[in-house]
Every structure is written in structure tokens, then in C-alpha cells.
Subunit: 583 residues, 2 copies
């Protein structure tokens, strides 16, 4: 495949799209006020190897520019390797986005703000303060939270009006430079919150934690059952709300931003997590016919949800597909643009539930499987989430060596670390076909149980039980995607790309994915790791109303395959538990 190089970063690409699109996919932001329609002439870049120039493109460029290698990115369709550099004034608009794989979006958040000067009422005008406000901002609903802000606003006179989808939700009694939003992934096991500037789209900080609902059950089914116990639903609801409020505190302190200035939170999560966050009984998700209470995207008052944000702030829950393909997966499809006609692509979100979506030239079908929390570092003796001190990569070649998040002392294993261990023990023949640890240098038998001792103090060990947990997760995901391929009459050879998403931090390696057998080795060159697409997709919806529309449309386009009723599935699952499986 040909490659593009930009400021030291190189990525490969499939010819076809314009250079503008290709740069954006490489996370390079190019100013393009006309949206790539070839009318504004602003997306000039310096290109080495861009191929022939069309007549249309020429009309925007001087002879000197053409000679210097300037191209209009939206009208340039490269075929081979090329090097791109910023050009002239446009340079200021070129930035490498900080966060994960996010396709280009127009910065058009649901929340907007503008400075206004309120009039001074007179004795004879006979107007209410709300009437005066409307003379400045146009018709708006008289919500209680807005009414409560009006007296102070009229004392200040120069205020900032904050709107959500055109409805004024707050009046800040001063001028402000920026407002903020939150992109949130509420996973069954882990929760991540990112603070985002609504005027630049820049991520100002992120914080994560274990979902405190784990105390009520490690997977969605046990939590659904717990909702039937006395006070169970409310206990789980308040646990996650308290957790989110705490994470918001953390990102706000770190970024020195007042939480009063946060006006929207966009949330991606599975249907059970959504129900529990909103205090909706999840019972219907736990038994046939597995109906979610709601599938569409929801805009709700943050206060009603229990979140302490800015006055009148909203929560946007992304739309979901079904009980087991939630809004986190819609977020993933949004990020990977899975509805687009770009060959046959497989999207796998590895979490406590594994969800798999197959895109056959944009036609979408899906399945889900219960992987368990092992690959998120839970229910594993030395497991932890991907945060400081977590071992995220492991080599057992000769001696034990770790890559540790934050470069500090290793205190536990996160998902990618556990996958690496599995990959290494398979590679080094330290386990048999069934996953049983063989005797060997690092292997210790103690209290009748066998374990692999990676570090003595603090102890980092992998027990036989831990290996079983990962094996089960692997079996569930592998059998899921093989079933989905088979149902569509496809083989692994037909796949153009395998997109992996999950809470793995930034260092999930292709080697550990294939080495552990989670993804068959033959797909090695087609794997791309996309990071936490639930969070990234939530961020897209936070920042772009058109992304939000795309999400609503995407959610309606996905077919669902129920694995449990599939003939031969149990046999396939049993085979997928074994190592070196192929089909």
C-alpha cells in the first residue's frame, strides 16, 4: 500500500479519496471552510509526489505555487507514496489531533455561546425580564433553571448566553472564552471521562476508574439480576453517578476548569449501563425477547440524571441498536466509519461484553458475546485497569521484562499485559493445547494451584485460573466473529481490515492479539487498533451535531445475529477455547 508522510508521521492508505480526506484520516486537521467542495481554495498544502494536477485545481493556484509543489488537498487524488508539509497561511490550521483515531468532523457542538448585553428595563415598558431577554436572544422556553439565572444576569448586564440546540439554558454573568463538554465511556468494568473544549475540540484531560457497580456483579447479567433486589437499582444508579461526578472533579481540577462551565456530557455505553445510569429498570434486557427500554439517542437534563455540571447542562446518551449492541458500539461504528463502502471490515470491541460488527461494503451486521472482565484486568488475581503502574506489555524471552504505564514500579496487569502473558506462554510452549501451564522456570505450585510468578514484590502472578478466564474471553470473541463471518458466507481471506477497539490504553500490540490467539495469525497484517472508540465516538457526538445525526442513522442500519440460537455454535466455542485453533 502507498504511504503518506506528514511531519514525521507515516501511514499507509488505499488510493481513492482526496488528499484532504486522507490527511484527516491520518489525524491531520486541514482548514477547509467549504468542506472539501473545491470552492474556497483554502486547503493548500505542500506535496511531494501528489500526481497530476487537474484543470480545476490549476484555477486556484499560481504558476509559482504549482512550481513550488503547492496542491489543493481537496482536489488532489494521490496514487503513490507522498510527503506532505504545511503551506503558508494554512500552516496555522494544521494540527495533529491528540486523541485516538477520530475521522474528520465539523466542529459544530450542540452547545453554543455568545456574549450579549441586556437592556435596562424602564418603568413604562411593562415587560418582564424574560421579555427583555427574548428581545436579545429570540424566542426561548421559560425553563425553571433559566428563570433562576435571570435576576443575576440583569444585575451583570453583560452576560454570556449558553444555548443547547438553540434553546438558551444558562446566562453566565460575565464574558467567557470557552465552554466545555465531557466525552464519556461507561463500560461494565471501566469508566473513562474526557474533558473537551467546545471551541477548539481539544481534549484537556481524561480520568478513569473501575465502574463501582462491580460490587453488585461483574457482568451485565448479574447486575440486571441485582436490580430486582430491594434498593438494588438505586444503589447501582447512585454508584455510577457518584463515580462520574468524582471523575469530573478530577479532570476539572487537573485542567483548572470550573465544572460550572461544562454544559454537556455525551455518553457511550451498553444498554444495561445506560439503564443503570438513568435509573431505568434493566429487567427487559436480561430475558427474551431482550427488548431495550429505549434505543434512540436521548438528550436529558444533567441535573435530572444526578450530575453536577453547569446550569441547565444536558446529557446526551448516544443511540443504541439493541439490548446487546449498545451506544458504545454505535460510537465505534461512527469512529471507524463502518457504514462507508470501504471493503469488508470487521470491528471488534473487546470489553466485558464483546461486540462484533461486520461491514460488507457498508452493509452492517453484528453479534455479541459475554467475554467476561478478564481483558479489562478484572476478575484476575493481579489484574488492574490500564492506569499508572499497570503492566501493559510483557516479554518472557530469557528473563521477565515489563512495559509499565507511567514508567513506575509495576503493581498489576492490565488487559494488554494479560494478553501479552498469554501470547508469550503460547509462543514459548509454556502451556498445552488446553491452556494448562506446564512445569518450568517461572511456574510455581502452591496450595495445590499452579501459577506463573512474574515479579516477587509487589507480587505479580498469573494463576491457572487467570489463564482460564482469558481463555474464555478469547473463546467467546473468536467464536463470535467466526460465526458472523460464516453466517455471511465469508472466510477470513475476504476481510480487508480488522478494527480492534477496547479499553487497552495505547499499547495493545498486534503480536499479543495474534500470539494469544484472540485474532487468528493470518489476519496479522490487517489489524488496526482504534483505542476506546466508545469514548472517541462520544466525543464526536459532543463536538458535532452532524456526527450525532450520523449516529442516529447508523443505529438503524445494523442487523443482529443471536449466537446462542445458532446451530453448531457450542461446538465452535469449545474449539475456540483451545490454542492454535484454525478453521
Amino acid at each position: 500500500m502507498p504511504v503518506i508522510t506528514f511531519e514525521g508521521v507515516t501511514w499507509d492508505y488505499v488510493p481513492g479519496p482526496s488528499l484532504l480526506d486522507l490527511l484527516r484520516r491520518g489525524r491531520v486537521k486541514v482548514e477547509s471552510p467549504c468542506g472539501g467542495k473545491g470552492t474556497c481554495g483554502k486547503c493548500r498544502v505542500l506535496v511531494n509526489g501528489g500526481g497530476p494536477i487537474s484543470e480545476e485545481e490549476r484555477t486556484f493556484l499560481t504558476d509559482q505555487e504549482i512550481q513550488d509543489g503547492v496542491r489543493l488537498a481537496c482536489l488532489c487524488y494521490p496514487q503513490g507514496d507522498l510527503e506532505v508539509r504545511p503551506y503558508g497561511e494554512a500552516e496555522r490550521g494544521l494540527t495533529v489531533l491528540e486523541e485516538g483515531d477520530m475521522p474528520p468532523i465539523s466542529l459544530d457542538p450542540a452547545v453554543s455561546f455568545r456574549a450579549i448585553k441586556l437592556p435596562i428595563p424602564t418603568l413604562r415598558d411593562g415587560k418582564s425580564l424574560l421579555d427583555h431577554l427574548r428581545s436579545c436572544i429570540g424566542v426561548t422556553e421559560a425553563s425553571l433553571s433559566l428563570l433562576r439565572r435571570i435576576p443575576q444576569a440583569f444585575r451583570a448586564q453583560e452576560v454570556t448566553a449558553v444555548s443547547h440546540q438553540g434553546r438558551v439554558i444558562d446566562l453566565i454573568p460575565s464574558e467567557v472564552d470557552d465552554l466545555y463538554g465531557l466525552a464519556v465511556d461507561v463500560g461494565t468494568t471501566t469508566v473513562v471521562v474526557s474533558l473537551v473544549s467546545l471551541s477548539t475540540g481539544k481534549v484537556l484531560g481524561s480520568a478513569g476508574s473501575i465502574n463501582p457497580q462491580k460490587d453488585f456483579g461483574l457482568d451485565v447479567i448479574s447486575r440486571i439480576h441485582h436490580a430486582d433486589s430491594d434498593g438494588g437499582l438505586e444503589d447501582m444508579r447512585s454508584a455510577i453517578v457518584t463515580c462520574l461526578n468524582g471523575l469530573v472533579d478530577q479532570v476539572c481540577v487537573d485542567a483548572n476548569v470550573s465544572r460550572d462551565r461544562i454544559y454537556e456530557m455525551a455518553v457511550g455505553c451498553n444498554a444495561t449501563m445506560e439503564s443503570l445510569l438513568l435509573g431505568i429498570h434493566p429487567g427487559s434486557l436480561g430475558k427474551a425477547p431482550f427488548s431495550p427500554v429505549v434505543r434512540e439517542g436521548l438528550s436529558l437534563s444533567a441535573e435530572e440524571v444526578g450530575l453536577t455540571l453547569g446550569n441547565g447542562a444536558m446529557v446526551y446518551c448516544l443511540p443504541g441498536v439493541s439490548a446487546y449492541i449498545g451506544s458504545d458500539i454505535v460510537a465505534g461504528m461512527l469512529v471507524t466509519e463502518l457504514e462507508e463502502d470501504r471493503g469488508i471490515r470487521l470491528f471488534i470491541d473487546i470489553g466485558t461484553n464483546g461486540e462484533i460488527v461486520l461491514s460488507i461494503n457498508g452493509e452492517l451486521s453484528s453479534c455479541s458475546c459475554a467475554a467476561g472482565p478478564a481483558l479489562e484486568g478484572m476478575n484476575i488475581s493481579c489484574g488492574m485497569r490500564a492506569s499508572e503502574g499497570a503492566v501493559e506489555s510483557v516479554s518472557l524471552d530469557g528473563s521477565v521484562s515489563f512495559g509499565v504505564i507511567g514508567g513506575v514500579e509495576a503493581v498489576g496487569l492490565c488487559g494488554s499485559g494479560i494478553l501479552d502473558v498469554l501470547s508469550e506462554v503460547v509462543r514459548l510452549g509454556m502451556v498445552g493445547k488446553t491452556g494448562r501451564l506446564k512445569e518450568g522456570p517461572l511456574v510455581v505450585d502452591q496450595d495445590g494451584a499452579r501459577r506463573l510468578v512474574l515479579q516477587k514484590s509487589p507480587p505479580i502472578e498469573v494463576t491457572q485460573g487467570d489463564i482460564r478466564q482469558v481463555q474464555l474471553a478469547r473463546g467467546a470473541i473468536l467464536s463470535g466473529f467466526l460465526s458472523l463471518l460464516e453466517a455471511k458466507g465469508l472466510t477470513m481471506d475476504d476481510l480487508d481490515q480488522v478494527l480492534i477497539a477496547g479499553q487497552f490504553g495505547r499499547h495493545l500490540s498486534v503480536e499479543s492479539l495474534t500470539g494469544s490467539g484472540l485474532i487468528p495469525k493470518e489476519l496479522k497484517d490487517r489489524i488496526r487498533y482504534c483505542g476506546n472508540t466508545s469514548r472517541t465516538g462520544s466525543m464526536m457526538c459532543l463536538l458535532s451535531r452532524s456526527a450525532r445525526k450520523r449516529a442516529e442513522s447508523l443505529a438503524g442500519q445494523v442487523d443482529y445475529l443471536e449466537l446462542s440460537v445458532l446451530e453448531g455454535y457450542d461446538r465452535l466455542f469449545a474449539r475456540c477455547l483451545q490454542f492454535e485453533v484454525s478453521r
Copy 2:
């Protein structure tokens, strides 16, 4: 004037309207499905003295019926005295309404309900429970409070859907016969709550109390100031919300109704009370240019306001006119149909604030004055609100005799009792022109202060200070309405009717109004007492969406006269403090 007699009750009327309208004004409910359009023929009544029968009316009646004296009330236009009795089947629809002077309304509350049967979801329908619900009830907003009710509703299957203005707000997991609403008057000094059936319009019970905000100031101005103190606004807000929740408890227990079945509260009150109830800082009401934060009618979530009612229940705050002509007065205009062309009418709402509206053939102008809480039984040594044990009438002829609410031992004086005392001391010459108590049989001098001892134990006394308080209230109201008349170039002779509203219970006498000098004696025959029109008008809005529309329209039709800037007002006020005043 000719009179109508119905089941022992007689009232006079001005010829012009149909008998249907005249009966309704006399609080007689007549079934009339077509709304009085002369098409359904259902409003048959037996009439003695109804005058000639039109050809149109004849087409609905048999010869026998005409011979028996049957008339169609909507097509009968009486001119003289007549006697009306129920007729045939229609008899069942004829009831005398229990509550105050309420003009006819169509029973069309904002809250409606209907039984529905929810479908059983299947594995292959791919719908959410909300989708299924919408297939039964049509498009509706996905509010959080509704979503939380869906799981239980689908378990019950046969449910009652409750709507507010067409938006579904609750799903009750059973069939129900009736739902309820609350008509509320929040006065500066007293609060009254009535529980009303939404399907019959019948009042099921009422409860009242002193407004607990009195601890923060006796009049609106002192409460507005208190809102500036630390926590002051929230203290006052939570005091009135707690009080209302308590009164709702009381009426629900008394009527054996679950508060979960109450879906709307309609509230009439002055602009300051509205601000304090809603937690909106009232500062702008307390200083020029006296702008209210909001004037329009508000539909707010009861939960957001802090009231514990049915799931998704709403609060409707009636529209107001200005800072000092609040929604309580709009309610009063609604009840008295003040915008109609029925001559020159004066409406006076006697409360801690006195508000006066003049209708010149439907053209409305208003003024307001600070009367103080004396006429509501507050700030008076033995004062109390009009409830059990309150002296509501007093005669000092020879000996002291009381009329006591509930027929129990007298424990204090309510507004009408105090007015009666004043009326009596004036009539018997026990006070001078300035209001000073003269020496006499009931008058005692003690600790340098003079007082009238009406009962020894429990002591019921009226001090010289109490008389001053009532005198001030009287002076404020009297000077207010005289100023308003003068501003419009009218004299008392021009007035066709004086409508008195207030929290006086049901026994305010014309004698005490004129005897105390609150209303000049020459208006004696034109006075009509309308009761607590703030509560009654709220009830109309609760029960009728068209009444709500009328209220919104009325609120925009009223001119306001600011007394304090009027030349000669202070002189007039001083004159009005004296007894036997005339102008």
C-alpha cells in the same frame, strides 16, 4: 332585577344571556354536550315563567313537553322572574357546584388519561419498549421520568397512560377511575390548597395554613429584602414548598386519595410569592422599575419545583400582569369575567397586598396597595386565619356575641371578625374620627395601653394598636380604589358592581365592609363577595384549557396605575384613615 329560583336557591339576573348561561352563573351545572350551540337538545329543564318559545327551540320539543313547561336552556332567553326545576333524564346532570362563584367552564383539563393495552414484544421485532409504547399512544417525548415507568408498565401490560397537554407523563400499571389536581392560592399570609377530581371537577377537600414565610417578613417587601441575606431565598423557597407538600398530605388523607394520582397543581399568587416558590430571586420586584422576572403562565415539572406529586406531574403558575398585579388577580378577573362588557365593575382583592381592578365595559385598569396582613388576621394581637375557632362575626349590641367558625370555643379573630369589631365600634360610637378608643364598658386601660376585652378566657382582645393596623389597611384600599376611579373620571355613582375577593371564609358581611368604612356605604347594594378568587381561578385553569387561554389573554389586557407617583395621593390616603370619610 328579575330573579331565578332553582331548588330553593334564588338569585337575581340581568336579562340577556340564555337560561343555560344564567343557570351556570348560579352555580347550577346543566349537561350540555354541544356546549350550548343549540344542536344536541340535551339541556332540557322544567321552567315556570320562561317567556316565549322560538321556532328553533320548538323543533327539539314534543307538544307534550311544551305543555309540561319543558324548555331547552340554551335556546331560552328569559326576561322576568322564573322558577327552574330539573327535568327527566337530564336531572342526573344537574348539581349545585360546591365551591364559590365560578363561571361556567368546559371540563377540559390539561391532564387526561386513558386505558391502553401494551403489546407483547417479540424476539424479531427489533423494537424498543418505547417504540412499542408509541405504537399505542402516538409520538411522545422520551422524558426520563416516563422512561423510568416503562419497565413496570410492560410487566403489567394493561395500564393507564396519563398525558399533560398531549405529552405522556406517566404509565400507571393498572386501570384507574379518576385522577386529581390541586388548585392553590399562595398568599403572602395564607395558603389554601384544594384537591379536585379531574373527571368531575368536584372539590374533594381543602386545607389551609399560614404561609410559613411569615417568619422571614410579614409583607412582600420585607421578604424581598430577606432574599438578599445568606441562604434567605432558599429558606423561603423550602418553607413554602414544605408547607404545600404538607397541605397536600392533609387533603389526600382527608379525601382518601393517593398523592401519586395528582398530576397537576395550578397556582395563583402575587409575583413575589411566585418568585419565592420557584426559587427565583425577587429583587427586581422590590425596586424601580419593578420588573417581574416572568409574567406569562408557566408549566413546570412539579419535581423540579420540589413538590411530591404523581410521576411527571406538572405545576401551572397562572400568568401575571406586573410586579404588583400577580396571577392571583388574573385568577380573580377570570372568575369575575371582568373582561366582559357588563357595565362598570370594580374588583377588590383584599389581602396583605390589596389589588384593585376596574372594568369599564371590559376595559381593564388596575392599581395595588400595601394593606398589611391585619385583614388576614396577622399582626393583630388576637388574630388568626379563618379556620376552626376563629371569630368571623361579632356583635357588640348590649352584650358581646360571636359567630365562630366550626361552632367551637372562640380562640381568636379572623379578618371578617376584625372588620366586624371595627364596624361595631364605629356604629356604637366607641371610637372617634381618628380611630381612638373611647372609655366605655368593654374598654380597659392596662400598662398604659387601651384595649377592648371581648372574651376573658381564652382572652380575645382588640388593642388600640390592632385598630390602627386595620385602619391602615382600610385607608390603603379605600384610597386606592378612589384614586383609580378618579383617574378614569368616574365617581362611585357610576359603579354597577363592587366585587370583593379575599381569604375571609364564607361569612364576610356587607355590613362589616361598609360599617368599617372599608367600602363606602353608598355602594352597599352593589357589593358582591366572591370568596378566594385566586384559588377559584386556579381551579378554573386546572379544569379547563380554554380558561387557561383566557387567563393568558386577560393578563395582557390590564393597564396599571402606580399610586405612589399620583398627585394628591398622600392627602387622600390621610383622609381615608379617618372614619366616616366621604369624598
